[in-house]
């Protein structure tokens, strides 16, 4: 059967038969590295063209339609353009910090891939504190933004970085609290446990209204955490030109851009894992026939389908809502989302203890 875990298994057996265990490990590490880099590059290309097509569709425009069939190669052409640009460092900048910041953004985005289950039994590291690991690593991303803004020697960059810092740390709270709602229900931080607990229904359906509130808070919070519109104050074009990456050009800018899109993918993958059952197929009660048909769809298709649905949702937000002001943004978090998600967590706990969920 063709599935990711089967292919990986076969590869492992074949390598073990032909090479020594050490060499097998090294080859597998190299293969995993190549696969991850491929995923990164692929995601960057796909998400950029998807964003442009979705925005064109929402605004009744055509969008990119010249390069390749229906403009599908546009982001590839953009990548080549960025490759040919000079990635210069301004003379007043702190050279080391300026050049290290995009690397940190990329490392953070890459490290977040580790606990994500892409398909059934296909995961880099199913560590027992998976969700805590994701929230711990993702909070490092603010450091790269602050480094970039601080070292640029540009007022726009500094303002963008400070705003972004205030915004990311604030929204981390309600994102964390809504993630905790799922953990209370599951009783485990391990990603595979969380997915297996949704075999008889996804949490968003099983958990009644409190779980749905948690899902909505999570989506709002991660939209803010990834600096996407309507919360894109860090790079508000009309006020700060480009925010924290004003001074970046060429490939260094492209790395920030790529890291942002991969972060969007990762938070959506996390949302799909926690609330929409990860790679679990959609099942309805006792409809044996329907459930059987759903089981035939590969688990990877389910995972990527749910993830891309959430990404589409976040893109829809971007082209629907106007940008918030910084005081409105902080009001929304501290006066609405945080109290709501705290009370919601108590409700979810009550539900879990009384076993009101399905």
């Amino acid at each position: 059967m063709w599935s990711f875990s089967n292919i990986a298994n076969q590869l492992h057996y074949w390598l073990n038969d032909h090479f020594s265990p050490t060499l097998t490990l090294i080859i597998e590490m190299v293969l995993a590295g190549v696969a991850v880099i491929g995923l990164f590059a692929g995601l960057g290309l796909v998400l950029v063209i998807m964003e442009r097509k979705v925005s064109a569709w929402i605004q009744l425009r055509l969008g990119p339609n010249r390069v390749g069939p229906k403009g599908m190669l546009q982001s590839l052409a953009d990548t080549f353009k960025l490759l040919l640009k000079e990635g210069m460092t301004p003379s007043g900048a702190d050279k080391i910090m300026f050049n290290v910041a995009p690397f940190i953004a990329m490392i953070v985005a890459m490290l977040l891939l580790a606990p994500i289950a892409f398909a059934k039994d296909f995961q880099l590291w199913d560590l027992n504190i998976g969700v805590l690991y994701v929230s711990a690593i993702s909070s490092v991303s603010v450091i790269s933004i602050l480094m970039a803004g601080w070292s640029s020697n540009n007022k726009y960059s500094l303002m963008g970085a400070m705003r972004s810092g205030a915004q990311i740390v604030s929204y981390e709270l309600s994102a964390g609290l809504s993630v905790l709602a799922v953990i209370v229900m599951t009783g485990s931080l391990q990603v595979s446990d969380i997915i297996h607990s949704q075999a008889d229904g996804w949490w968003i359906f099983k958990g009644h209204i409190p779980m749905f509130i948690a899902f909505v808070t999570f989506i709002i919070a991660v939209t803010a955490e990834t600096n996407r519109a309507p919360f894109d104050l860090a790079e508000a074009e009309s006020e700060l030109t480009a925010g924290f990456h004003t001074e970046y050009s060429g490939m260094k800018f492209a790395l920030f851009f790529l890291a942002e899109y991969v972060n969007v993918f990762i938070v959506c993958a996390l949302g799909a894992t926690l609330f929409l059952g990860g790679w679990m197929p959609f099942h309805i009660g006792n409809w044996e026939g329907f459930n059987h048909v759903m089981d035939y769809i590969p688990s990877s298709v389910w995972f990527f389908g749910k993830t891309f649905f959430l990404i589409w949702l976040i893109m829809w937000f971007r082209w629907t809502f106007p940008r918030l002001r910084i005081d409105q943004l902080l009001n929304l978090e501290w006066k609405y989302l945080l109290p709501i998600s705290m009370v919601n967590l108590l409700l979810v706990t009550l539900m879990a203890i009384l076993k009101w969920h399905f």
């Binding site: 875990s5 298994n9 490990l25 597998e28 995993a32 991850v36 490759l83 040919l84 640009k85 990635g87 210069m88 690397f103 990329m106 490392i107 890459m110 490290l111 580790a114 039994d121 296909f122 880099l124 590291w125 805590l132 640029s152 020697n153 540009n154 007022k155 810092g165 740390v169 604030s170 981390e172 709270l173 905790l180 953990i183 209370v184 229900m185 009783g187 931080l189 075999a199 008889d200 229904g201 996804w202 359906f205 030109t241 004003t246 060429g250 490939m251 492209a254 790395l255 009660g285 006792n286 009001n331 501290w334 006066k335 109290p339 705290m342 967590l345 108590l346 879990a352 203890i353 399905f358």
Partner: protein, 151 residues
């Protein structure tokens, strides 16, 4: 409702017996960790550095860097920049960072609680209500003092 048959989920023993690759669990082969284990972090860090470093190096190959005084100036929409760049910022950022710190530590305390909450039952709920009450009192105090207001 949304309930499926449980038989399509492999039992833990079956998973252990069937898996042995680097991507699937391999408790028998390498240590006690499932899947690729902690070595995946090394792979991820190295591939991130290789990817970004490689991209920057490739772009270096194509260009002939030039420098002049104007090119190195900070970009502020064409107007010559005046004064120091590292200006004083609104005190609000500092206040929000302080409040965030309190709540973030609280969040870290909540993770271990959340794992055992369901099995502990009512005890867990009472404890967290007291915990939230104290926290919320502090939050209301900050709100009353105007720390949450953007000046």
């Amino acid at each position: 409702m949304f309930i499926s048959g449980k038989n399509d989920i492999p039992q833990f023993e079956q998973v252990l017996a069937s898996c042995s690759s680097i991507f699937t669990c391999n408790e028998y082969i390498r240590g006690n960790q499932n899947y690729m284990g902690a070595s995946s972090l090394i792979v991820l860090i190295i591939s991130a550095i290789a990817f970004s470093g490689g991209a920057i190096l490739i772009s270096r190959l194509f260009l002939k860097p030039t420098t002049n005084k104007q090119k190195g100036e900070p970009y502020e929409c064409g107007i010559p920049t005046t004064g120091k760049t590292w200006v004083q910022l609104n005190v609000g950022y500092y206040l929000f960072a302080l409040i965030f710190l309190i709540f973030d530590v609280e969040l870290v305390f909540l993770y271990p609680w959340a794992v055992v909450a369901k099995s502990m039952g009512w005890q867990a709920l009472v404890e967290i209500v007291i915990f939230f009450f104290i926290l919320f009192a502090g939050f209301l105090y900050a709100h009353k003092k105007g720390a949450l207001k953007w000046i």
